[in-house]
């Protein structure tokens, strides 16, 4: 599908630009460089307006992400249950800093601010899998499971 054909159905919809960007990202895993120009054209906006929207929201990625994205909650309830130590342990385990993608593009490690699992913290999300009462081993096992499923 071309970028234009992904974006066009959202014209005229409430909040259409944001939904269109979600759709592009779902298809490509990130927003390819042309997204800005194509979306501006389709929505009859300036490129600056579109860029402004893309850069405002944490969800929109302008570079390819790792095949598996590990999002670790960095907010208070998780801090109260060892969240800071969990982040440090994961950075060590995957040899990555928060916000970085591995050179082989197989893994991205990034913070998320609250998954609403605050009563069973700390929590994380591996791909679309939620993990509560998380620790580095538990997250590592889910990463392995996710990789294996993708391979098969």
């Amino acid at each position: 599908m071309t970028l234009a054909s992904i974006i066009e159905p959202y014209v005229g919809k409430t909040g259409g630009l944001i939904s269109a960007l979600h759709a592009v990202q779902k298809e490509h895993g990130f927003l390819p460089e042309d997204t800005e120009a194509v979306a501006a054209d389709v929505f009859n906006l300036t490129r600056a307006e579109v860029k402004g929207v893309i850069s405002f929201y944490h969800d929109f990625k302008r570079a390819p992400q790792g095949e598996t994205v590990v999002r670790v909650c960095a907010a208070e309830a998780c801090q109260a249950t060892g969240g800071r130590a969990l982040v440090a342990a994961l950075e060590k385990k995957f040899a990555l800093k928060m916000g970085d993608t591995s050179a082989s593009k197989d893994l991205t490690l990034e913070p998320v601010y609250c998954l609403g699992l605050c009563s069973c913290a700390p929590s994380a999300m591996v791909g679309d899998r939620l993990v509560a009462r998380a620790n580095a081993d538990k997250i590592g096992a889910v990463v392995e499971k996710t990789k294996k499923e993708r391979a098969s």
Binding site: T14, G15, G16, L17, I18, S19, L21, H22, F43, E49, G52, V53, F56, Y57, H58, D59, F60, C73, A75, E76, A77, C78, Q79, A80, T81, V112, Y113, C114, L115, G116, L117, C118, S119, C120, A121, S123, M125, D128, L130, V131, A132, R133
Partner: protein
């Protein structure tokens, strides 16, 4: 073939603790035994330390087992098909004190029914409020809400009835109902739980609001971090249309109302109502100056009733049972019930719906059971990242809007995060600024720049660089952010910071003596 029905939550917390894998394992085990197993995926009861909690009905009571993991499947099926005895049995779920002592006006069905069955919903009292509202005129519905004393549950606590009257009284060709389901405060998950566990109550509350203020379109602005809620809501809305609960002719009343779910894109600030409206219009989520109030010029400049999820979910009971019934719960100007969310380092974490007015100590110690690791509680933060840090010296405060406000704190969205004695409040205060740096929309300077300066000041205080001067500068900065910020993001970031300094001066290298002199 023998038949068996089990109840197991689809709630994100249960899923994050293995409920989906457990469901698969139970099905495999049942197949092996040629057992006709039906698993009803419900919402969560809110006792998250027991999740995944499996329930089975016996003699009219739901008996629970939890937390159950995949390894328990064979013994669990033996138990429920036999004498019921199992090491993970918790007995009758509704007899567990944590559950039994609650007043569930909102969450009554959550964890009990199939969230996607209109029939179940109505069998358990659903739509009774809507049916009453459809027979009333607009002004009468608004009066009922006003008389109930309901206040917005998102954090600000503004009287709902006043908002309803304002939107109802505004002249326009189009009005909107917008639900703020951008529940970004750490320590809160009530919105998520009700949307996943009983979505029709939100649909009912929104429809009543639509009928009352004359709006025909409703939007649920849902954060992207809640994929389970998105799926349940979209399915529920489709079912509601089929059942005639939404559409051109709501329940044969001749009135139109419909709902759409809009998924946000990861921005804490979009929980602020004007930022949310900009985002819903497809723009950057920058806050707008008020006035104009969204009630008069909201989405696309039209009169808009913006409410938090829980505010609207409180409405069906008010309409069904009357304003007086609702007002009789709570204390003073804090009427009705609040789903408190007990989170962080806590033994019995979860959701506890009760009337306003119980003491903080009851929530933290009696209901929550203290910390998970058994260490002493040193601090709690109430009401999310912009809420105050309180020390156990203040645990006898009552949980209601006025008492909290009088003590420099707020109920917020009802989230309580518990910390043990290893917490360093300087780190937490620094984080409050750091979070504001990350999430400020950038429109006003006190918030955008003030937060960056705040992080720097915290680092200097930590390192002891011109300590006294920096403590003074911190106070100045906080005052400026409170007075000069456009919205609560910059305006309330000083609350966690200043409460931490006030109640835990030793963490900032400040002698408590100086504190007493202030």
């Amino acid at each position: 073939m023998t038949a068996l029905t089990l109840y197991l939550p689809l709630d994100s917390a249960a899923v994050a603790l293995g409920a989906d894998e457990l469901a698969d394992a139970l099905v495999r085990e049942a197949d092996k035994r040629k057992l006709d197993l039906k698993i009803v995926r419900t919402g969560s009861r809110g006792m998250h330390w027991l999740e995944p909690l499996v329930e089975v009905e016996k003699d009219g009571k739901r008996i629970g087992y939890g937390p159950v993991d995949e390894g328990d499947t064979a013994s669990l099926l033996d138990a429920v098909m036999g004498d019921g005895k199992h090491e993970k049995s918790v007995g009758a779920v509704e007899e567990i004190p944590f559950f039994k002592n609650q007043t569930r006006l909102i969450f009554g069905r959550c964890g009990v029914i199939d969230p996607l069955s209109v029939e179940d919903y109505e069998k358990h009292g659903g739509n009774a409020g809507l049916d009453k509202a459809l027979k009333m005129d607009s002004a009468a519905i608004c009066e009922e809400v006003f008389e109930s004393g309901l206040r917005g549950r998102g954090g600000a606590g503004f009287p709902a009835g006043i908002k309803w009257r304002t939107v109802a009284g505004a002249e326009a060709d189009q009005k909107y109902i917008v639900v703020n389901a951008d529940e970004g405060d750490s320590g809160t998950f009530a919105d998520r739980m009700i949307m996943e566990g009983d979505p029709f109550i939100l649909i009912e509350g929104m429809t009543i609001a639509g009928v009352a203020v004359g709006a025909t379109e409703g939007y649920i602005y849902l954060r992207s971090e809640y994929p389970v809620a998105a799926r349940v809501l979209n399915d529920a809305i489709a079912d509601a249309r089929k059942a005639g609960l939404l559409g051109e002719n709501v329940r044969g009343s001749g009135k139109a109302f419909d709902i759409e779910v809009f998924i946000g894109a990861g921005a804490y600030i979009c929980g602020e109502e004007t930022s949310l409206l900009n985002s819903l219009e497809g723009k950057r989520g920058e806050v707008r100056s008020k006035p104009p109030l969204p009630a008069l010029e909201g989405l696309f400049g039209k009169p808009t009733l913006v409410h938090n999820v829980i505010s609207l979910c409180s409405v069906p009971a008010i309409l069904e049972k009357g304003a007086k019934f609702y007002r009789d719960y709570g204390m003073g100007k804090s009427t009705g019930t609040m789903p408190f969310q007990i989170a962080g380092n806590v033994k019995h974490g979860g959701l506890y719906e009760t009337a306003f007015g119980l003491k903080l100590r009851e929530l933290v110690e009696d209901i929550g059971g203290g910390t998970l690791n058994g260490r002493p509680v040193r601090a709690v933060q109430i009401g999310g990242p912009l809420g105050a840090y309180l020390s156990p010296r203040l645990f006898d405060l009552e949980m209601d809007y006025e008492t909290m406000a009088a003590n420099g704190a707020g109920v917020g969205h009802g989230g309580i995060v518990i910390y043990d004695d290893s917490v360093n409040l300087l780190e937490q205060a620094r984080y409050a600024f750091e979070f504001c740096v990350e999430e400020s929309c950038g429109k006003c300077t006190p918030c955008r720049v003030g937060s960056v300066r705040g992080v720097e000041i915290m680092d200097r205080i930590k390192e002891g660089v011109e300590h006294g001067k920096n403590v003074d500068v911190l106070e100045d900065l906080c005052e400026l952010m409170v007075d000069g910020s456009l919205c609560a993001m910059g305006g309330m970031t000083p609350i966690p910071v200043q409460s931490a300094v006030k109640h835990f001066p030793e963490d900032f290298g400040i002698k408590p003596a100086k504190q007493a002199a202030e």
